[in-house]
C-alpha cells in the first residue's frame, strides 16, 4: 500500500477489520496446465455454434453490445436529434463519440454506458477468437447499443452490421481488430445467451479512410434505433 493510504486512519482500520484469509496452497500443476494450454487463434471452424440450440422463439442467439460513451455535450446532441412526436425511436448522431471509460467517468455519472463499457473489459477472460468463429457465420443476433441515456437496438440494419463481421471481411481487416480494450475504437461485446453468458468482446480500431472502422461506423450512422425498456 502506498504511503498516502497508510496514513489514512479510516482505511487502515478497515484493513484491520478484515481477518487474514486462509488461502489454499496451490500446486504447480496449475503452471503445467497453463503452459500446455493452446493458443486459440487458428483456422475458423464451420461447425454450428452450440448456442443455436438455445433459440427462444427463433430469435436471440447472440447479443452484441456496443458500448459508446458520450460526454455531456454529446449527449445533448443525441437528444436534439430525436424525432419529435415519436416514442422510443431516435436517430443517433455519432459524429464525435469518445470511446474511453475515462471520459465517461469524468462526467461522474454511473450510467448505462459506464456499465456497458466496463463489460467490454471482460474480454481477457474469454476468447475473442472463438467469438469470431461464432459470429462470422451470420447467425441471428441482437446488436444492442448502449449509449449514455439508454439501451438501443438498431431498427433495420443490424444485418448489415453483422455482415461486416463475416469471414471475408474479418480476414481482410484482421489487422484492424484487437482485443485490447485500451485501444480507441468501436467496442463490441458479444454475449451468448443460454450457455453461461460467455462474452466475446472485440475492438474495431480507429483507422484511416476506407478502413473497417469507417465502414462499420458509416452503417451505424445511417441506421435508426429503438430504445429498449429495461424492465
Amino acid at each position: 500500500m502506498n504511503e498516502k493510504i497508510e496514513k489514512d486512519e479510516l482505511l487502515n482500520k478497515l484493513r484491520q477489520s478484515a481477518k487474514n484469509p486462509n488461502a489454499p496452497i496451490l500446486s504447480e500443476e496449475i503452471l503445467f496446465a497453463a503452459t500446455k494450454s493452446e493458443q486459440r487463434f487458428g483456422p475458423r471452424k464451420l461447425h454450428t455454434p452450440k448456442i443455436i440450440l438455445n433459440l427462444v422463439g427463433g430469435a436471440a442467439v447472440l447479443a452484441a453490445v456496443f458500448a459508446l460513451t458520450l460526454n455531456p455535450s454529446q449527449t445533448d446532441i443525441l437528444k436534439d436529434l430525436e424525432p419529435n412526436g415519436t416514442s422510443g425511436s431516435a436517430s443517433i448522431a455519432m459524429g464525435n463519440f469518445i470511446f474511453t471509460e475515462e471520459e465517461l467517468l469524468v462526467s461522474q455519472k454511473l450510467n448505462l454506458a459506464y456499465w456497458g463499457q466496463k463489460a467490454v473489459g471482460n474480454y481477457v477472460s474469454n476468447s475473442p477468437e472463438t467469438y469470431v468463429d461464432n459470429l462470422w457465420s451470420g447467425q441471428q443476433a441482437y446488436w444492442i447499443f448502449v449509449v449514455a441515456d439508454g439501451v438501443y437496438m438498431p431498427n433495420e440494419r443490424s444485418a448489415e452490421i453483422r455482415n461486416m463481421f463475416k469471414a471475408e471481411n474479418l480476414d481482410q481487416f484482421s489487422g484492424e481488430l484487437t482485443k485490447d480494450s485500451t485501444v480507441r475504437g468501436i467496442k463490441f461485446l458479444i454475449q451468448e445467451q443460454g450457455v453461461g453468458g460467455a462474452l466475446y468482446p472485440l475492438v474495431v480500431k480507429e483507422a484511416q479512410e476506407s478502413s473497417f472502422y469507417q465502414q462499420v461506423r458509416d452503417i451505424m450512422l445511417s441506421d435508426t434505433y429503438t430504445q429498449i425498456p429495461l424492465n
Binding site: A23, I25, I30, A33, N122, V124, G197
Partner: protein
C-alpha cells in the same frame, strides 16, 4: 514496456512469485473450494496473454485477469438470462461473506457500500495495491482510480457516521 520480455522462464517466475497472492485474492471473493479452479483459469489466460503483461505491474495485471474470470464465474453461477446482465453492477468485489470482516461498525459500513466502491477499496485496502496498480487491475487510469477511491472513502465515512448515529 509491455510483454515482450515474458518468455516461458519469466512466466514461471511470475507464477511462482504470485501464485499465493492470486490465491489470497480469490479466497477473499469466493469460497475456498473454488480457488484452485479459478486460479487455474487465471494462469491459463495469463499464459496465453503473456505478451500483454506490463513489466513491473505483473500482479495487478494478474488481478485484472482474475477480475474478469471472477465476473464470468459469478455470472455463470447465477445462471441468469444475460441479455442485459452486463448492465448490472460489477461482480468482482469481495462479498461480505467471503471477506470475513470482524463485525465492527466500520465493516458493516463497508458492507453497505455499492460493489463499485467495494471493488476499489478492496484492491487498495485488502489486496494492498497502490493507486497505480489498482488502476491497472481495473483497466482504468490512475487518475480515475484515485477519484474512485476518494469517492468510495467518502461514502464509507458517511455510512459509518450514519451507523454510529443509529447506535447512539
Amino acid at each position: 514496456m509491455v510483454g515482450s520480455y515474458m518468455d516461458e522462464q519469466a512466466f514461471v517466475s511470475l507464477f511462482r512469485d504470485h501464485l499465493q497472492d492470486v490465491s489470497k485474492y480469490l479466497v477473499r471473493r469466493v469460497s475456498a473450494n473454488q480457488v484452485e479452479d479459478l486460479a487455474s483459469d487465471i494462469f491459463e489466460i495469463a499464459w496465453r496473454k503473456r505478451a500483454d503483461c506490463p513489466e513491473g505491474f505483473e500482479l495487478p495485471w494478474l488481478y485484472r485477469i482474475a477480475g474478469y474470470v471472477l465476473a464470468n464465474h459469478r455470472r455463470k453461477a447465477e445462471n441468469r438470462s444475460v441479455h442485459l446482465s452486463l448492465l448490472d453492477s460489477d461482480k468482482t468485489s469481495p462479498s461480505a461473506e467471503t471477506l470475513a470482516l470482524d463485525g465492527s461498525e466500520l465493516s458493516l459500513a463497508y458492507q453497505k457500500l455499492g460493489s463499485s466502491d467495494r471493488q476499489i477499496l478492496s484492491l487498495v485496502v485488502f489486496d494492498g495495491l497502490t493507486i497505480t496498480e489498482s488502476a491497472i487491475a481495473l483497466g482504468i487510469t490512475a487518475n480515475t482510480a484515485s477519484q474512485k477511491l476518494k469517492r468510495a472513502r467518502a461514502r464509507l465515512a458517511k455510512e459509518l457516521i450514519q451507523l454510529m448515529s443509529e447506535n447512539d
